[in-house]
C-alpha cells in the first residue's frame, strides 16, 4: 500500500493543478478536413495513408477483443492498477466515434482527452501518440470513418482505488505528461528523423521498452532502457544495451528483417514482440523500416542494468538432473551444445534472450512455447512446445538454470519462486 501513501498527499498538494488541468482545452485550429469530414467522403489516398498509419500504431490489436468485431473495442488490458477495456473506434454514433470530429480525435491522440473532456488513462499510449502530427491524425481519422459502424458499448474499466478517480489521473498527468509534437533534429539525417518519429510516436515502443516507476509512468522514454511489462510477466529488454535488445552492432538488413519477418539468422521475436511484428511492423514500407532501423542503430549504447546478484547455487545432483532434462527435452531442437539448427531452431549458447535479467522471458518461453509470428517473409514458422503442463516448477527452474549457465552463458540460475512469479495463466 506504499503507493496509496504516496499518492494521498499528492492529491491534496496538487488540487489546484487538477483544477487547471481538467479545464476544457480546445485543440489547435482545425484544418479544413475537420469540417468537411462528415460531409464529403475523404479522398481515397488519405484513407489509404490512414490505414497504413493505423498499422504503424497497431491500434487494431488493442481496439479489438479476441474473436470480436475488429475495431469495436472490448479487449482487456491487465495492469497493476486494474483492468482497462479498450474503446469502440467504429463510427457508431452512440457507442463509437460517430459523433466525433477530426479535432475531437486529434485531442484524444495528442492530449489524451475524450470528446466530453474526460481524461483518458495512459493504458492508451497517448504519451507516445502525442508526437503524431495533426496531418497524420487527420489521415487516421479519415480511415476510421470508413469502418463499418458497430454498436458495442465500451465496458467500464475495473480499477483499484485510488487509480479509479479522474483526480488521481489529473495528478498523474500533471506530473508525467505534457502534450508535444515531434520536433525534427536538423543535425540528423532525414531517415533518422523519420525513424525517431515512428519509434517515439505511432510505434509506441517506449510503452513497453522504457522502465516504469511505481505510478506506471515511463522514465526517460527516449532511452528505451528496458522494462518489466506490468501484469504480463514479460520483460521488454533495453534497446540501448547490446546485451539485451540493442541492435547497434547489427547489419542494417538484419534489423529490417527482424521487424519485417520476425526472424533473422540468429534471433527471433517472441511473446508481446511477436504481436508487435504480427500486427504492425511487418506492414511497414521498405523506407520506413530502413528509417526505424537507422534510428534504433543510432541509439546511444548504454550498459545494461547491473545484474540483481541472486544468491542461488545448484548442488551437483541438481546440476546433473538439469543436464539430463536438457538432453531429454531440448537437445533435439536446440542441439547438445546449445548450438541450434540453422535458422530453424535458435542457438541457446551465446543467446542474449536466454541470459536476460530479470529472467522473465526465457521462463515464459519454456513455460508457454511459441511460434515466431507468421509473416510474409516467414509464413510457416517452426514451433517450440510449451512445457508448463509436462514439467514441474522445480524442473523448469533447473532446465532454465542449465541454459543460462552452460557453454559460454554465465547468467545467474533461476529459482522455483521465479517460475511461479512469471507463470501467469500458463498452466
Amino acid at each position: 500500500m506504499k503507493r496509496v501513501v504516496l499518492i494521498v498527499p499528492l492529491v491534496a498538494l496538487l488540487a489546484a493543478l487538477v483544477w487547471w488541468s481538467t479545464r476544457h482545452n480546445p485543440g489547435p485550429d482545425t484544418p479544413a478536413i475537420a469540417n468537411a469530414s462528415r460531409v464529403a467522403a475523404p479522398p481515397a489516398e488519405l484513407v489509404a495513408r490512414g490505414e497504413y498509419l493505423a498499422r504503424a500504431g497497431n491500434c487494431m490489436a488493442c481496439h479489438s477483443a479476441r474473436g470480436g468485431t475488429p475495431w469495436a473495442g472490448g479487449r482487456a488490458i491487465d495492469t497493476t492498477f486494474g483492468t482497462f477495456y479498450t474503446s469502440n473506434l467504429t463510427p457508431d454514433p452512440d457507442t463509437g466515434l460517430g459523433r466525433w470530429t477530426a479535432t475531437d480525435f486529434w485531442r484524444a491522440l495528442h492530449e489524451g482527452r475524450s470528446r466530453d473532456g474526460r481524461l483518458l488513462y495512459p493504458a492508451f499510449p497517448y504519451t507516445s501518440y502525442t508526437h503524431v502530427t495533426r496531418e497524420d491524425s487527420d489521415a487516421l481519422w479519415a480511415y476510421l470513418q470508413t469502418l463499418p459502424a458497430t454498436q458495442q458499448a465500451s465496458r467500464p474499466h475495473v480499477l483499484r482505488f485510488p487509480y479509479d478517480s479522474q483526480t488521481a489521473l489529473a495528478v498523474w498527468r500533471a506530473l508525467y505528461f505534457k502534450p508535444a509534437v515531434f520536433q525534427a533534429d536538423a543535425s540528423q539525417s532525414a531517415a533518422w528523423n523519420r525513424g525517431a518519429y515512428l519509434v517515439q510516436g505511432l510505434g509506441h515502443c517506449s510503452a513497453c521498452h522504457a522502465p516504469r516507476n511505481a505510478l506506471g509512468a515511463s522514465e526517460d522514454a527516449d532511452k528505451l532502457a528496458g522494462g518489466l511489462m506490468a501484469g504480463q510477466n514479460w520483460y521488454a529488454p533495453s534497446l540501448g544495451s547490446p546485451h539485451e535488445a540493442g541492435v547497434q552492432g547489427w547489419e542494417r538488413d538484419d534489423v529490417i528483417a527482424l521487424l519485417r519477418d520476425g526472424i533473422t539468422h540468429d534471433a527471433s521475436v517472441a511473446g508481446p514482440m511477436a504481436e508487435v511484428v504480427y500486427g504492425s511492423t511487418q506492414y511497414l514500407s521498405a523506407s520506413d523500416l530502413d528509417a526505424m532501423a537507422t534510428y534504433l542503430q543510432a541509439l546511444p549504447a548504454a550498459p545494461s542494468a547491473p545484474a540483481t546478484g541472486r544468491a542461488i547455487t545448484l548442488d551437483d545432483a541438481q546440476r546433473a538432473r538439469a543436464a539430463r532434462l536438457y538432453a531429454d527435452h531440448c537437445a533435439n531442437c536446440h542441439g547438445e551444445q546449445g548450438e541450434g539448427s540453422g535458422p530453424i531452431y535458435p542457438a541457446l549458447d551465446g543467446n542474449r534472450a536466454v541470459t536476460l535479467d530479470p529472467p522473465a522471458n526465457p521462463l515464459r518461453i519454456v513455460l508457454g512455447g511459441g511460434f515466431a509470428p507468421a509473416t510474409q517473409g516467414n509464413p510457416r514458422p517452426f514451433g517450440m512446445p510449451p512445457f508448463a503442463a509436462s514439467l514441474s516448477d522445480e524442473d523448469i527452474a533447473l532446465v532454465v538454470s542449465h541454459i543460462r549457465g552452460s557453454w559460454s552463458n554465465a547468467a545467474s540460475p533461476v529459482s522455483v519462486i521465479d517460475v511461479q512469479r512469471y507463470r501467469g495463466n500458463l498452466r
Binding site: 477483443a65 479476441r66 474473436g67 520476425g262 526472424i263 511477436a274 504481436e275 511484428v277 504480427y278 538432453a327 531429454d328 527435452h329 537437445a331 533435439n332 531442437c333 542441439g335 547438445e336 539448427s341 540453422g342 535458422p343 530453424i344 531452431y345 508457454g368 512455447g369 511459441g370 511460434f371 515466431a372 509470428p373 507468421a374 517473409g377 516467414n378 509464413p379 510457416r380 514458422p381 517452426f382 514451433g383 517450440m384 512446445p385 510449451p386 508448463a388 503442463a389 509436462s390 495463466n425 500458463l426 498452466r427
Partner: protein, 249 residues
C-alpha cells in the same frame, strides 16, 4: 519462410542424429531424426501433448487430432486463437499465426491415417444402454435429434466440418459437453451443439460419453464424405448445403 528455406532441407550432424534417436524425448520415437523443412517438423510443438503424429495424448484428456475432418480442425484452431474455446497453453501458442497457416496445419493432421487403439470391452449396464439410445435415436419427446444424424451413422464425422465422436477419451467428451453447457466452449454461430447440449442432463452427458468412449474405431474408418440426410439443425462452420433447406435457411 519461403525466402529462407526454399528447397533446402536442414540436416544436423550425424552425431546429433544418433543422440536424438537415443533421447527419451516424448516424440522422438516417431519424429524424423533430421531437422527438415516439413510440416511434421513444424508441428512438433503440438505433438508433445497430442501424441506422436496427433495419435492422442499421454493421458485421458488430450484429444486425438489425426485423421479428423480438416474443416473441423481448422475451425477449432480458429476457435482457440480467437477465444471461443479456452485453453491458454494452446491459444497463446496460436496467437500470431494466420488463418492460412492454421489451414495448412489442419490439412496436415487431417491427412494422417493412423490406426486407433482397441478399446477394452466393459459389460453392459444401464448407462451404456441409455447412451447408445441417445446417440443413435435421440429423444423425440424432448425434440433432441440423434447425435448420429449429424456425426454420421458410423460416428466418424462428416467432411469437412463435423468431427467423429468415437476414438475420444471419456473424460474429454464429458468435459467438452459440459463446457458447451456452461458457455466456455463455443462454435461458430449458429452454434448447434450449444442447442443440443441444452437438452442434455448431467446424467445424459455421462451416459453418452461412457458409451461413445467404449466403441472401438474400425480399421480404415474415415469421416463420411457427405451427410446421409440433411442435418436437423443449422450449424455454423458447416457448409449450408448440408443442412435441411440448404442455403435457403
Amino acid at each position: 519462410m519461403k525466402r529462407l528455406f526454399e528447397s533446402r532441407p536442414f540436416r544436423l550432424p550425424m552425431q546429433r542424429l544418433l543422440l536424438t534417436c537415443c533421447a527419451l524425448f516424448s516424440f522422438s520415437a516417431l519424429a524424423a531424426p533430421l531437422v527438415e523443412d516439413t510440416m511434421a517438423q513444424r508441428v512438433l510443438a503440438c505433438t508433445g501433448c497430442h501424441g506422436a503424429e496427433g495419435r492422442a495424448g499421454p493421458d485421458g484428456y488430450y484429444p486425438r487430432i489425426a485423421g479428423k475432418p480438416a474443416g473441423y480442425l481448422h475451425n477449432q484452431l480458429l476457435n482457440f486463437r480467437d477465444g471461443r474455446r479456452q485453453y491458454p497453453l494452446m491459444s497463446e501458442l496460436l496467437q500470431t499465426l494466420g488463418d492460412d497457416y492454421l489451414r495448412d496445419m489442419a490439412d496436415h493432421f487431417a491427412a494422417l491415417d493412423l490406426p486407433y487403439p482397441a478399446v477394452r470391452a466393459t459389460g453392459p449396464n444401464a448407462a451404456l444402454t441409455r447412451g447408445e439410445e441417445l446417440v443413435r435415436k435421440g429423444d423425440a419427446a424432448r425434440d433432441l435429434p440423434a447425435c448420429a444424424s449429424c456425426h454420421g451413422d458410423a460416428l466418424m464425422g462428416v467432411a469437412p466440418a463435423i468431427p467423429g465422436l468415437i476414438g475420444l477419451p471419456r473424460d474429454y467428451l464429458a468435459a467438452q459437453l459440459s463446457a458447451w453447457k456452461s458457455g466456455i466452449r463455443q462454435a461458430h454461430t449458429p452454434d448447434c451443439m450449444a442447442q443440443i447440449v441444452k437438452q442434455l442432463s448431467a446424467v445424459d452427458i455421462s451416459a453418452v460419453s461412457q458409451w461413445l468412449a467404449a466403441q472401438t474405431v474400425p480399421a480404415g474408418a474415415r469421416p463420411a464424405a457427405m451427410p446421409a440426410r440433411d442435418l436437423p439443425l443449422r450449424c455454423g462452420g458447416v457448409p449450408a448445403s448440408q443442412t435441411a433447406g440448404g442455403a435457403a435457411r
